[in-house]
Symmetry: C2
Subunit: 187 residues, 2 copies
């Protein structure tokens, strides 16, 4: 009791991914995850509102990362460049938080579970909204900001899909750069 | 009984929008919607699985419209052009199904209700997935197809947001064209 748990969060994520895979998402409880991770339920709920959030909550959020990057971007950069740089930085930080194997497992579970898929899409939409607001804050016109933000979200989604598809050895950040280049070549 | 109901669907959509606005989404039942529309609950459930679907079900779906347009696109067209044309056609067909006022009201309700917002995002994601599959079917490389499909979804979302924002007199299809032009100018 009161013992300091090194990386309890990481162990709970690991445990959740294992249990969702073994028993399915619906049949796994927060208590199961806590037990497998070797923490109390109280510790679980100190970190996460519910079992769904284990896969989504993190020390940093996509929208904060992207909004911060836009806010501090070079004033000479185009709106799209500002937000793509933000997505690139977010990719670097996110891949430091979980291994590729965890991301692949997590993506498989999310794809198979409507409640998780909806949550993932909301996260992406929130990121686009945050990026759009940050661009408007920088003086970018509303319609341009909306497009640049949604296009950057498109880049992130395509990059993330490729990264977890196991058809590539690229890092997530490299997948973002590849997708951004593909976007710029689309005509 | 058995009386033919002209446009029962349209009346139920109208009734749902009114009731969700007056009483809120959570407090409105399928029975309330049926009563306001002057149909039986049985009729309601013949058309819709639940109250949520009143705002989403339609004679045509975004993904079918876009996939069909991609499948029949000019072989000379670029992947992005194929899918943007599909989105344009979808916009034309969708605006024939509901008035702009209904769309504005509907958007306000969706935005304020997490369960509806998630459903809307899923619809958009399904559209991107369908467009991507249709492009791959036409021989487009997977990464290019993913980007073009997500970029077209970005165009549709930005266009739809602008159309219901009441800051414009453009039609939905014109908003799509404007957003597509903005996308192509992003650098």
């Amino acid at each position: 009791m009161g013992r300091w748990e090194p990386d309890a969060r990481g162990r709970m994520l690991e445990a959740a991914i294992e249990l969702f895979t073994e028993k399915g998402y619906d049949k796994t409880t927060a208590g199961d995850i806590a037990a497998r991770a070797g923490v109390t339920e109280r510790t679980f709920f100190r970190h996460f509102a519910d079992k769904r959030e284990v896969l989504f909550a993190g020390p940093v959020t996509l929208d904060d990362l992207v909004a911060k990057a836009v806010a501090s971007a070079d004033a000479e950069a185009t709106p799209l460049r500002m937000v793509l740089d933000g997505v690139h930085q977010a990719a670097v930080e996110l891949s430091a938080l979980r291994t590729r194997e965890q991301a692949v497992e997590r993506a498989r579970i999310v794809e198979a579970t409507p409640a998780l898929r909806e949550r993932e899409l909301l996260k992406m939409a929130d990121m686009a909204t945050a990026a759009q607001a940050a661009l408007v804050e920088r003086g970018v016109a509303e319609t341009v900001a909306a497009l640049a933000a949604h296009a950057a979200a498109a880049v992130f989604q395509a990059a993330f899909g490729r990264w977890v598809s196991e058809t590539t050895d690229l890092s997530l950040a490299e997948c973002v750069d590849e997708a951004a280049a593909t976007l710029l070549e689309l005509r």
